[in-house]
Symmetry: C2
Subunit: 224 residues, 2 copies
DNA sequence: TCGTGTCTACTGTTATAACAATTTTTGCGG
DNA sequence: CCGCAAAAATTGTTATAACAGTAGACACGA
């Protein structure tokens, strides 16, 4: 990995640092909060309250919220206060359906295009999911599950795919603590994910995409 | 459609007016500019220049640009100046592929779910496309084509579908004046769109989705 | 001629304040 | 206790100003 350099030429490659401006940090924090289901559906998100709790002025909070709004992760009330949405039953079905369309395609391509490093990372997330099931750690499960699916999307090499998928996931965030209660769901999730991992390792596109569809639909089956 | 009301109760239903705050008006203007291919790939979009040309301060312009950035329609340079992107060949292929996935599904559902009013509107856009071909009016074609596809997406009743599709379209904007030069493209586009319209009128999902796929792929065939 | 450093635009970010619109609270009258 | 109007608090939008990087021009020295 180390770049060779001509004799006598010292290296200045100390690497770039994490240069995140305020509103990006806030965006990431809110996104994470949303993904983990830490906001309740219908909750109001007034700028000044958030800004005070973050110790900043209104502007960077407003930036972050507007960005979330533009991808539908929060919605703005008639008076333009941002609100955590409460997806209807149909909206939930449609979100799951679109996700299954896109993620199935991504999984098939990931099976063909993934690197070994990526596969190892995905396997790591799969381990985390197993561990979360053993300890009934919902927080860990949510995070590992999210990372698992996003890592597959990245490995698909489809341009912009995470930009499209991430908001769809985030929109389900507020509901994520409503179901997935019993231990049975955990067990099925483990089985699904390991089947997907196998398919990726075997570079089998059909098995990967059918596995993803099965997982996406089953883990969002509210009528059960 | 008219709501009945109790006797003696006058109607105040004059309907809401277009209450767009500044940054939304600017967003719409920029979006339109992008869709019509009026920005050149790689063009810088400095806040003060745009604000001056719009006669506003920086803030609403910044709001609009950040919103465009969050859906990938513009990209921010390392120094955070917004720039009109130049999609690579692979990015273009992937955009077309994702669009064909989503629009095919939407067209199939639109065939089943559309109202007569929606069908009439879609037919209207189809007429505009024909007219644009007769007069070689590229501006009219771009707008009518866009409206045609978005109207189908709306008629599909899939939640959030336009939120997802619109940015994909807009990302192709900067390139839209590079091809579609000769009259032959126009003719094929007319044929494709009328075939889709027929399928919708006949409520034939398979024909609608295959028609859309054919149109999306053909009208973005750069290697021709 | 080429590299180096300095100075000056330029440019986006953030904080603050004034403003308008809305919501909530308060208080009065019945 | 209820209805309602007025007052106060809440809240998002926009403009402005101060600030911190960044890029380009320019001159100096090897």
């Amino acid at each position: 990995m180390q770049q060779s350099r001509p004799d006598g030429e010292p290296s200045y490659d100390v690497g770039p640092i994490n240069h995140h401006v305020l509103h990006e940090q806030i965006y990431d924090a809110l996104k994470r909060h949303m993904m983990m289901g830490r906001f309740t559906p219908g909750q109001r998100l007034p700028l000044r309250k958030l800004a005070q709790s973050l110790g900043t002025s209104l502007m960077p909070v407003r930036d972050a919220l507007q960005r979330l709004e533009s991808v539908g992760v929060v919605v703005s009330s008639p008076t333009r206060t941002m609100i955590v949405p409460e997806p209807t039953a149909k909206e939930q079905r449609d979100l799951v359906h679109i996700r299954s369309l896109l993620e199935a395609d991504a999984a098939a391509k990931a099976a063909l295009n993934h690197t070994e490093a990526e596969l190892a990372q995905i396997a790591g997330h799969c381990d985390s999911i197993r561990k979360s099931a053993e300890t009934d750690d919902l927080d860990l499960f949510l995070e590992a599950n999210y990372n698992f699916h996003m890592a597959i999307a990245v490995a698909s090499r489809i341009s912009f795919i995470t930009t499209i998928l991430e908001p769809l996931w985030l929109r389900m965030g507020p509901l994520v603590r409503n179901y997935m209660p019993n231990h049975d769901h955990f067990l099925r999730a483990i089985a699904n994910h390991e089947r997907i991992l196998e398919a990726l390792a075997a570079r089998d596109p059909e098995k990967a995409s059918s596995g993803i569809i099965h997982d996406v639909i089953e883990s969002n089956r509210f009528d059960a």
